[in-house]
Symmetry: D2
Subunit: 259 residues, 4 copies
């Protein structure tokens, strides 16, 4: 049985007297010196963030952490119900809920932007790129990262994230492209086309040069943070059981009525 | 069908023009101002951390983030293999791996300490408490949060975390109790009884007055951060498939031989 | 790096021209000849079931498959919402919900019985064993596998499962012990002590000589079967989003009121 | 807060004295009378199978249940390692591994066939449909449901499943279309184009008139059955820890060498 391939990883070296992460000593360089968001940045970029990157990355990782009774939160709470033994599976199940249908916009927006503009240094005509994107989505008038069904007039997080991007020097070509898409789409389709919070996060991830396929991972980390509060509250003042019982009773009553 | 109970949550209010988390405005008070670890602290303590708490909490959340090819990392990588569509389920599965067998020490240590000393202000005799705990584990000589099979002479993270605790004023009764257990157990059982990194994290969680049942949640968040790097690397330089193929070939070869 | 241990598995041999499972040829001996429940039996017992075992095992595996809007079903539906890409993670999350709090009774009943009567051939005094078990649970008057909060007078599945057990020769010492516990506990605590469906399944698993720690696995398989119907229906007539929206709105309204 | 939508489900009615599934009484009509695969059929088709459908459906559900050290099996075993408390999360994580990359072929084949031939009664020119499909995949010469990298000359399960289909009257237009694609692709690309086992399962699912998006659900159920054996064996003769330790040691050694 030939071992056809060597297992290689450049992330961590775990030795008897020390642990290094991308060449940095966990004890000497990281613990007590950087924060959890910086650690995530290190995992993704293989280097520590600059102060500006630290602020920006922590902001996008946090922006999606808490949003009340999200699908993730309800799933985690139900799994946790009466199961003090199962905190990790509750969080794991909540993260499973970050599928494309509920949480795909962020990733899709980042992918769309990176495919349109693979090299952010390239001096491309952003207006033309925006038009191409709007064209490509003209049929159903839905563009990933745009449209805010609930918040009026726009998602409060979008404004703030763009402000932080400007202040820290991340208002580059991807955010500009988002702005142009917004303008062109509104004028063409005759309706407001606000950038959603997931859209802003996706574009800023591009500004931070993070590959689009890592974006839902950042979302998962942020949401896991939010789930901590939901599981603590579910432990102290449970509500998941009530949600489930109501659904059971309502569907049963409706079915009985039908007979 | 009576709705027997109102659904109440004090965590977040999601309104058209703003989102608040434990009374703080996500935009005005949190984004761009605090880091991801502070956000987790807010979820668990319903208030922002002091600067000292921020350093301490971020340190324990990060301490377990990265440890190379952990069970979690391998699970997440295998799930991700060839599935660019499934970043969240890969992370979710990796978090499922944080069961008691692999990741229980941290929670068990915190639980043991909080049950021994429910009120950290109470002026109890810590030596006596330590003796009671050592007694209770005398049979198999295993105490949650102690014993470091791999690192020699002790887990490098333990030293550093205790140092950060001292510097920031968190070397309170729970860490003292750990020290006393260590001393008593080594002298009684005639062997070194080093505090493990999970043990240090569990005790510091107690110093931060975090309920023991939230501790594996913090671990899950930290580990999710580490998985970001593993999934990125698995995407760029896959190794999970090789691990699986080797296991398939080796077990098949051994079974054939047996026949 | 020493390979300290050989990887051995006796389950399956995957060869170029055939696949065997516990020595049986998947094509020749299994496909088209046995059913899915028998396959599960083969995985657990390393041999095919007798006709009686086949009926009995399929019955306990099916008994928990469908029970309407269970926590599992709601979790799976929420994860699936709008995510045609994620059928397996939806089922995976639903299975995560089978924690001790929601689904532990079956396993706990089987464990209790196997610990009381490790050798079912041993000619022990079952009345005395029952008394010991009732004694051990006298404080909170809760015995795993007993008590049926919803169904009156008892869970309809219990009667039928016990009937199938009798017809097929599985009314052995474990079911007898359950009956004795029921009688002693009702007379002692002065209230009905019906055997729950999970209790009946747990006891019958013992009659089939299945280790208690595999029982929740059988539950997981059965429940996965039920989730197929829920995910199909969620696809055709979604309701998960409505459940989530109601919870979001109700908690937000209550929080606003409080301010 | 308006309840904008009623929660309706036609699957199960859970009443005090009985449980019905798609109108059938769980006790009277199902337990002890049908098998677990039939129960899954009932969930998906809302009626019981004919004897032929029962044989066919059980066969496809079982065909993927066991295949040795699959990604799913390793994931489930690692999650289970040392965690007797976590059987369901281990199965849940194993099911998460059934992503498109590892387990998509079955679903993709079914989708391709149902899109090509939405109405199996329609008298379409199957040769022309096959050509269209081969054309559409001419670039990379990969067609979902074809190609068997390991088994020579073809997956043993394919032959047997097709035989069961013939015997039971399920060798309809979808299996014919698969055969035509195979013939056309081999002649056009000058290489063998064997139907894979997932391809056969996908096509037979079409013959059973199951929507393509349910096919990975059936796979998940079958694989959950297989995981029962792997978790039992992992409990008795663990190997997951060894797999993980080897990976940890090999990557660490390679990283140290590089420095």
């Amino acid at each position: 049985m030939a071992q056809r391939k060597t297992l290689k990883s450049g992330i961590a070296a775990v030795e008897q007297d020390r642990i290094t992460v991308h060449g940095l000593d966990l004890n000497r360089d990281l613990l007590g010196k950087i924060n959890l968001g910086d650690m995530a940045f290190l995992e993704l970029k293989k280097r520590l963030p600059t102060p500006q990157e630290s602020v920006m990355f922590n902001a996008i990782a946090m922006a999606m952490a808490e949003y009340g009774m999200t699908p993730s939160a309800i799933v985690a709470r139900i799994v946790y119900t009466g199961s003090p033994e199962s905190v990790p599976p509750a969080i794991g199940a909540g993260i499973n809920a970050l599928g494309h249908g509920l949480a795909g916009a962020m990733e899709k927006a980042a992918k769309m932007l990176q495919q349109a503009l693979p090299d952010p240094q390239a001096n491309l005509d952003l207006e033309a790129l925006a038009q191409k994107i709007v064209d490509a989505h003209a049929e159903n008038r839905k563009i990933p990262g745009f449209g805010v069904p609930f918040h009026k007039p726009l998602d409060p997080r979008t404004t703030r994230l763009c402000e932080i991007a400007r202040t820290n020097g991340f208002d580059g070509p991807y955010l500009k492209l988002m702005g142009l898409i917004k303008r062109q789409a509104s004028s063409r389709f005759g309706q407001a086309f606000p950038i959603s919070a997931p859209g802003a996060v996706g574009a800023i991830a591009c500004e931070l040069r993070l590959p689009w396929h890592t974006v839902r991972g950042i979302l998962a980390v942020g949401r896991a943070v939010g789930l901590l509060g939901h599981l603590l509250e579910e432990n102290d003042e449970p509500l998941a059981r009530e949600i489930q019982t109501r659904a059971q009773e309502e569907t049963t009553a409706n079915l009985r009525q039908k007979r």
